[in-house]
Symmetry: C2
DNA sequence: CCCTGTCATACCCGGCGGGTATCACCGCGT
DNA sequence: ACGCGGTGATACCCGCCGGGTATGACAGGG
């Protein structure tokens, strides 16, 4: 009631964002406070202050738990992005601080790649880049299926190999490297393994072979198939005749004798991109991108 | 190859970022402090703390003034982005707070358009959108030549019409709307006005007609021509025979009798895009984009 | 009913962000 | 050469606010 409209530019500290994001993710003040390493009352107070400062109701406190309002959803998303940006600022500054050359910052690149991605492309890229004149040391950061975006956003990586449609290129600069089709991966002895081609619908409807489920941003879509954590596990399950999977053509390079690959007619093509944070101005990065597009 | 030990994750408050950005932009602690509405000593101390926390030297204090180190340049750029993200979080949350509909946030869109942009496209877009089922109220925010990117980044706008090569689409999602050539705009009586076509080199080298200079991000490139602030001024100067300008085809809609437009053979085409912050999930926005791409 | 688990309130304290006064240092003017 | 102005750095103090502990209000469940 006192400072009703204190609003003219109150820039919102990252501490407040961290607090809100924690609460919004946990939907529970106690757990959020624990995660933040603090007590619950000051956290409650901080969120209240935040709501008053924004003049917006962010959470609906039902006696039993907490729910996000529409504005809360927005702040959760935007707040995560802002926190990522701040974290990226710290990481990139620290990295630039080591070797201090005013013209072109950092002579080291962190490249994020799916652990399950095609090894061949990566190998060719690294080999070609290593002999480039402007090349820098490249640290390869192997990650899970959908982590590249986060790594790039929060500064843990400088550049990534991404695969649409699984990764989103939103918010990054990117160049297309290659396009490939997809194949159904099934046990060699299965009746469908003899087919020349298959459709997605056929693969999905095999009664004795539930389609394997990959994690998307840490969570698994509901379904009958097994939850896949890594490529070896998937290969094993297919060899055992327990599941079928839809994978890019390049997965053929790691097929077992017990596997069969059948081209899919209507699966979306998988496009490999090299992506980096918008507005990057590192010479080493530009050189890597150039090398990649020329491979 | 292993990442070095980052210090125990000190997430960097936006206050510190504001301080550093101010100092980095002013390159002067006194002026920066004044701009921040505070005294100089605490600002010095804050920057020192920041440098110690990051373990990086950001500024080179020469007795006379201050210069940025390489790491400082990085932090300036990244810090601005992070501050924009935080500001955007505040603005978008406030806007979402008004009408609280948990499914689709905000039923109002702010569209940023160059004041000098083609009126026709905008008119068609707004008319077509108004009759769409999922449409929202659209506030048109007229801005200068290069402000759309900042408006979109810091949340003052939800969507923008941009024109490459002047605007950069880096960091945004976008769709292409139209492509047009460019023409030379010169006084009707000028000898070159009778030509069928011209080349950029010819336009640049007219001795009595220096090429007009548009601001790029608030600053003017050096050159002999007059500095242009708005379309009316440009039209006047051309009509007076004082300058020549290179403008998109669509500028023909506002030609005066005293003007002549001659197509350029080698000018880069101007592409109009509709762009919005990556990861926007507003239904109203999606509908606007769909409308735009269809007309 | 009481017990449990939730978030909110009340109150206190210490740290730190910010202000004032001052210093150390250099370039420059006469 | 010397003082002067202007730079950023240091010293010190204080008030605010972020955070902790204790407790309250209120719902659901045994």
């Amino acid at each position: 009631m006192l400072s009703a409209v204190d609003s003219p530019e109150t820039p919102l500290e990252t501490r407040e964002l961290r607090y809100f994001v924690a609460v919004a993710e946990e939907l529970h003040f106690g757990r959020a406070a624990e995660r933040l390493g603090m007590a619950q009352p000051p956290l409650s107070r901080a969120i209240q202050q935040l709501e008053r400062r924004l003049g917006v109701c962010l959470l609906e406190r039902d006696r039993r738990g907490v729910r996000l309002t529409g504005a809360g959803e927005v702040l959760l998303q935007e707040g995560r992005a802002a926190l990522d940006a701040a974290a990226a600022a710290v990481r990139r500054t620290r990295r630039a601080g080591g070797a201090d050359s005013p013209g072109g910052p950092r002579d080291r690149l962190v490249l994020a790649v799916k652990a399950a991605a095609s090894h061949e492309l990566l190998r060719k890229l690294l080999d070609a880049y290593a002999v480039e004149p402007g090349s820098a040391e490249v640290e390869v950061l192997l990650c899970g299926m959908c982590e590249q975006e986060e790594l790039l956003r929060d500064g843990r990586a400088d550049v990534a190999l991404m695969h649409t449609p699984w990764n989103s290129l939103a918010g990054f600069d990117s160049e297309t490297l290659m396009t490939e089709g997809q194949v159904a991966l099934l046990p060699a002895g299965h009746p469908l393994a003899a087919r020349e081609t298959l459709s997605l619908a056929e693969v999905r409807d095999v009664p004795d072979l539930p389609l394997a489920r990959w994690p998307t941003h840490g969570t698994y879509a509901p379904g009958p198939g097994p939850e896949i954590h890594n490529q070896t596990q998937l290969a094993q399950l297919i060899a055992l005749g327990r599941t079928v999977a839809v994978v890019p053509d390049s997965a053929r390079s790691w097929l077992w004798a017990e596997h069969a690959a059948v081209p899919l007619t209507d699966a979306p093509p998988v496009v490999t991109h090299i992506a980096w944070p918008a507005h990057s101005r590192s010479l080493a990065l530009a050189c890597l991108v150039r090398t990649a597009t020329r491979l």
